[in-house]
């Protein structure tokens, strides 16, 4: 038996948001009596960090500390409409709606502060630490809390905002496929290094080196988690998972995690990430959604690396030991393709 090393490459782009638009999201922002801000959404946090990202966006837009912002998802009585968390639309669509709602609330907040400080609202800026002050004169300031109290109990002003973001729905041409699918794309490229055992057909992914372009890493830790987890899922799709192992026949269908194969914690592949940020024009602070696309390049990169290792093209997923072994036998033995250059 021989262990063959293989290396494969793939690169992709990914559309952000629902194809052809028509998928609005809304947000409402309001201040509590003492200047904390509540963001009401009906968007879903699936674990991807929807609540956290919208909280940071609201904080940045309002110009108040993130600790003073709370996000509420998702109650159909209190949260305005959102199409949902899918199609990599959360950050882009909901993020933009939150920016608008928070911008409007900020406008009210600066107007209220201006009245208290007896200056023009356009001369004010926020320090992001809980105060509003006159540009160039930090000592002439008022806290957000005092502003909120004055606005609501002295001036009769609400610090609140509404936001909606919609790419109007459009159509596709039946003859040419002409369309305006989405407004921005994320990108990725990666190299997979793996080993193939030519006696068992077993494939073990050893290392991934990647570059992901995400527009803007709104929260670098959440991006990192998405990318590491997504690559894990990509490896799993490439090598293990299917609900129908004999597709298109429906035999041997797995019904639990004993029969539905997935890699465990031991198979999380060492992954060296580079994150690139080319802001998209209409995205919140330029950020595109990294969540969906990050698994995609792994599948073909693994297939290409298996070919590089033993000379077997696995064009049907998943790349099981059986397929690899049959391919090797068909070729009369492993045919390593050598170090790519």
């Amino acid at each position: 038996m021989t262990i063959h090393k293989g290396r494969g490459f793939a690169c992709i782009n990914y559309p952000i948001g629902m194809n052809l638009g028509g998928d609005p999201s809304q947000a409402l922002v309001h201040s509590t009596p003492d200047g904390k801000f509540m963001v009401a959404l009906s968007s879903i946090d699936l674990g991807q960090g929807m609540k956290s990202v919208t909280r940071q966006i609201a904080s940045e837009t309002l110009g108040v500390p993130v600790e003073d912002v709370y996000v509420d998802t998702a109650d159909s009585d209190t949260g305005p409409h959102c199409m949902g968390s899918f199609a990599s639309r959360g950050t882009h669509r909901v993020g933009n709606a939150v920016i608008r709602a928070a911008a409007e609330a900020r406008k009210q907040m600066l107007d209220a502060a201006a009245e208290e400080l007896e200056v023009n609202a356009t001369d004010l800026e926020t320090d992001g630490a809980g105060s509003i002050h006159v540009k160039g004169a930090p000592s002439r300031s008022i806290t957000v809390a005092d502003t909120a109290i004055a606005a609501q109990f002295k001036q009769g002003r609400t610090l609140s905002g509404r936001g909606i973001f919609l790419i109007p729905p459009s159509d596709v041409d039946g003859e040419t496929g002409e369309m305006t699918p989405v407004t921005c794309f994320a990108h990725a490229a990666l190299v997979v290094d793996l080993e193939v055992d030519d006696e068992t057909g077993e494939v073990e992914v050893k290392e991934i080196n990647s570059a992901y372009e995400v527009g803007r890493a709104l929260n670098p830790k959440l991006v990192e988690q998405q990318l590491i987890g997504g690559a894990w899922m990509g490896v799993s799709h490439a090598l293990y998972e299917t609900t129908e192992p004999t597709y298109p026949e429906r035999d041997h269908r797995p019904v639990d995690f004993n029969t539905y194969l997935m890699p465990g914690p031991a198979e999380v592949v060492p992954h060296n990430l580079a994150i690139l940020e080319r802001p998209a024009e209409d995205a919140p602070y330029g950020g595109k959604g990294p969540g969906e696309m990050c698994a995609n390049p792994v599948l073909p990169a693994v297939a290409n690396a298996v070919y590089n290792a033993v000379g077997v093209r696995c064009d049907r997923l998943p790349i099981t030991p059986e397929k690899v072994l049959r391919g090797i036998r068909e070729n009369g033995g492993a045919r390593p393709q050598g170090t790519p250059s």
Partner: protein
């Protein structure tokens, strides 16, 4: 060990890195609840007197329902009610009716026939889940088994069984005219004739389970004011609410949906089946009802990522330029279309991948088969196509004897290039990703490939224009079943022509409702687009005008990033940290640990819920 680096040096001129909160690794507000088990999920809303609902499911791929005998089940202990299709007020829907796409093709509960193994034919509502399961086994269904079809291309044959009468050709109808979605850009057949090599292959994606830790489920209960509350783990709250409203023929204002925190989704929680089912149970019993899939249902009844079959044909020149690319794709939607029809249009807009290819054609079919319906999953409509495209790129590289990364950089799309769906590319970054990934892996690429840039050379000459395109009218609805359609690939004999440059006006975002909703121009965080008129905008704001090098195999004169790119320093939040440090919450210390479980029949002792009376 893994590592992360932020390449702040790339595209730095298009980005403001002085934001206060954006770009910070702020810890999630909800994480403490998640890791201490205190976050309430839908299943934690355990009402007093909660009833449990289970489905009776088809054991056949395709069968006529001759009769259902529920009498034995109704007499079983604890059984409150057995429901069948006649109890569903409006038992026909399609998910995308909410955006007016497609025809209603799917019942919540089968009535005339079952179209896939596992389809719902009845439900039992009982006091405990055990009792419900036992009663499910006692429901007698008389089936007349019908011939079935499981393979997408067999389903297109004239003599294939009709799976779903709403789509009698076993295909979704596109644009009221064709049994597939077309893409036509340039003339692939002419280019194939001129190419040095033709590279063809077929790829197959098999169905994959989304596999969230928390399976799909909902708990519904009558509320006051003649309403129903529904706790759900849907990925799309109003999607599920709207679907429930339609299927149950109830005003949407009478539905109060609560969700927002789900234990994973990955696309598997948009289908809105558990919500109308649970609300129906609550409507008909007047009691709180829980309907949730077990793991087997999640894996075999819950919709997976669909199987997709792809054939790609490339026309390639000796120097590695791809001059034509043709796709024939088959999405296996299963018995009901759900979202597959939409994914095909999305995929059509994605073709031919992130490359600038002057001649592109594709035919993609949404095929109805006797299989568990497919639905969204991470990368919906794209993942399988990208698998095919990127495996194919390696085949092309091997055919022309070229470094696979250099081949991709050579063909990569750049700012200003015309895409096959007739819109110019912008904000591209494929080349930079290729260069950085190659550098990190120490995979050598040529100095020329390392010098390329997404911002340079795009849109020049032919790269920026829509070519005259050959069209055809193959594959009209019904032709295939009538034996009048031969192949499935884009036609070899064009019958029409669309003039060069033909396109309609692109849609952009809706008008800002109120100017107060706009972020100040100097606070948007980047310098992309015309909206930004920030004074210190250095370079051109919009698409940079390329210095017009020769088309395709261009060699821009000024070297940009070089091959093994030196690693940039790890990101450090640039702006000063806000003064008041976050009020660090006290570490979680439960007052009385291990006492939150419910000890009731039919309820797991490990349920971490609170009780509502």
């Amino acid at each position: 060990m893994s590592s992360v680096e932020f390449r702040k040096d790339l595209f730095a001129d298009e980005r403001d890195d002085n934001l206060k909160e954006i770009g910070k690794p702020t810890i999630r507000q909800d994480i403490l609840g998640h890791v201490t088990g205190r976050t309430p999920f839908y299943d934690d809303h355990q009402f007093d007197g909660l009833l449990h609902m289970r489905a009776v499911r088809s054991p056949h791929h395709h069968a006529q329902i001759r009769g259902i005998d529920t009498s034995a089940a109704e007499r079983m202990p604890g059984v409150r009610r057995v429901l069948t299709a006649k109890d569903v007020p409006n038992n026909l829907n399609t998910l995308l009716s909410l955006i007016n796409f497609g025809r209603d093709d799917e019942p919540l509960c089968a009535h005339d026939k079952v179209r896939f193994m596992g389809e719902t034919v009845a439900w039992v509502i009982a006091d405990t889940e055990r009792q419900a399961r036992d009663a499910v086994a006692a429901v007698r269904v008389d089936y007349n088994v019908l011939p079935h079809v499981l393979d997408v291309e067999e389903a297109l044959q004239p003599n294939a069984p009709v799976v779903n009468e709403v789509y009698p050709n076993n295909t979704f109808d596109y644009n009221g005219k064709y049994d597939h979605q077309k893409l036509r850009f340039g003339d692939v057949n002419k280019a194939f004739a001129e190419a040095d090599h033709i590279v063809e292959a077929e790829y197959q994606m098999s169905p994959i389970e989304q596999a969230p830790i928390e399976t799909c489920g909902a708990i519904a209960a009558p509320e006051t004011n003649d309403r129903f509350v529904c706790y759900t783990n849907t990925q799309a709250l109003f999607f599920s609410l709207g679907t429930t409203s339609k299927l149950l023929d109830i005003a949407s204002s009478r539905l109060h949906f609560i969700g927002g925190t789900a234990g994973g989704g990955f696309g598997g929680k948009v289908d809105s089946i558990v919500e109308p089912t649970a609300v129906l149970g609550a409507m008909l019993t007047g009691r709180p009802v829980r309907f949730a899939w077990d793991r087997e249902e999640e894996m075999q009844v819950g919709a997976p990522r669909g199987g997709e079959r792809w054939r790609i044909k490339d026309g390639v020149m000796n120097d590695g330029r791809i001059i034509a690319r043709e796709f024939t794709g088959f999405f296996d939607s299963g018995a009901y279309v759900r979202l597959s029809s939409y994914a095909i249009v999305k995929c059509t807009g994605h073709i031919p991948g992130p490359y600038t290819i002057p001649n592109v054609a594709s035919n993609i079919y949404c095929v109805v088969t006797n299989r568990t319906p497919a639905t969204a999953m991470r990368g919906f409509g794209i993942t399988a196509a990208d698998f095919a495209i990127e495996c194919h790129m390696d085949r092309v590289a091997e055919t022309v004897g070229m470094n696979p990364i250099e081949l991709r950089i050579l063909n990569a799309y750049r700012d200003g290039d015309m895409k096959a769906h007739r819109r110019p590319a912008k904000n591209t970054a494929l080349i930079e990703c290729c260069q950085v990934a190659a550098g990190k892996a120490a995979w050598p690429i040529s100095a020329d490939a390392a010098a390329q840039s997404s911002k340079v050379g795009g849109g020049v000459g032919e790269r920026g224009v829509i070519p005259a395109s050959v069209t055809d009218e193959d594959g009209k609805i019904g032709d295939r079943r009538a034996g009048r359609s031969e192949g499935t690939s884009p036609s070899r004999r064009g019958t029409g022509k669309v003039a060069a440059g033909t396109r309609v006006e692109a849609k952009t975002e809706a008008h800002m409702q109120d100017p107060d909703m706009a972020l100040e121009a100097d606070r948007i965080g980047h310098r992309m687009g015309s909206a930004s008129t920030a004074p210190p905008a250095p370079a051109p704001a919009a698409t940079p005008a390329p210095p017009a090098p020769a088309p395709v195999a261009a060699t821009p004169s000024h070297p940009q990033p070089t091959a093994p790119v030196p690693p940039a320093p790890q990101v450090q939040p640039s702006a000063p940290v806000p003064t008041p440090p976050p009020a660090a919450p006290e570490p979680y210390q439960p007052e009385q640990p291990f006492q939150r479980g419910l000890n009731r029949p039919g309820t797991s002792r490990f349920t971490s819920g609170f009780r509502r009376r």
